[in-house]
Symmetry: C2
Subunit: 117 residues, 2 copies
Amino acid sequence: MNHFGDVVRERRERLRRQDRRYSLRQVAQRIGLEPAYLSKIERSEAAPPSEAATVRLAGELGEDPDVLLALAGKVSRDLQDIIRKRPRLFAELIRQLKDAPDHAVLRVVREVRDGDW
Amino acid sequence: MNHFGDVVRERRERLRRQDRRYSLRQVAQRIGLEPAYLSKIERSEAAPPSEAATVRLAGELGEDPDVLLALAGKVSRDLQDIIRKRPRLFAELIRQLKDAPDHAVLRVVREVRDGDW
DNA sequence: CGGAGTGTGTCCTATGTAGGACACATGAAT
DNA sequence: ATTCATGTGTCCTACATAGGACACACTCCG
């Protein structure tokens, strides 16, 4: 399993090679965290930050927020709220899709998008 | 919005009318919580308990665990783990279904269940 | 009446979450 | 050589989570 801190560090250092504004300190400042704290996060000495901070970090790094949250072991609040409003329905759907291959899930996504409900 | 504590209390007292083993104390003991704590939960003086305790409570009351967890403002860990493994896919699907009517979601559930992927 | 069982008030605690403050050593640039 | 920025080590904190312990007052019922 890819760990949160490693991914963040790699992403940031890759960006940094082209733009020196991606130092740990500057990124930390832009997303509103203390450098020492971000340092600990990148070395997995501290757990991933809050959802809000993780999303800001994703923005800064050009990463998909849902992916970064997933690496942090979380599911974004807005998705949880959608599920919470119709728990039986969504619980069943998601459990059904657990072992479905990607392409099957994608087909469903497309069907729904183009759906005429 | 129906509150967690009220639902639990109502459910329990309904059961109690037919079976006096559904006193607060006895239920608390069966699910492994202190009576004083369960009392606070039912009166919303304390927040809903942990996911594990909530699920045991649901079992005791004959309620759907996902529904009770939803009332507790939570989404069960196992669902979150399914989403976390394919965050982009599931995030897109769930957001698409946000405003879809129940019957549309149900149709998708059925399609997937009978699906030949 | 006297006990058994019931719900609740009060107080306490351990662990986790989400960071901030500050100092320090190193390295890069001028 | 000095300045400046960089990453990091150490220490500290406020709040939330998830309860346990115990005592108390009421009530039901044999």
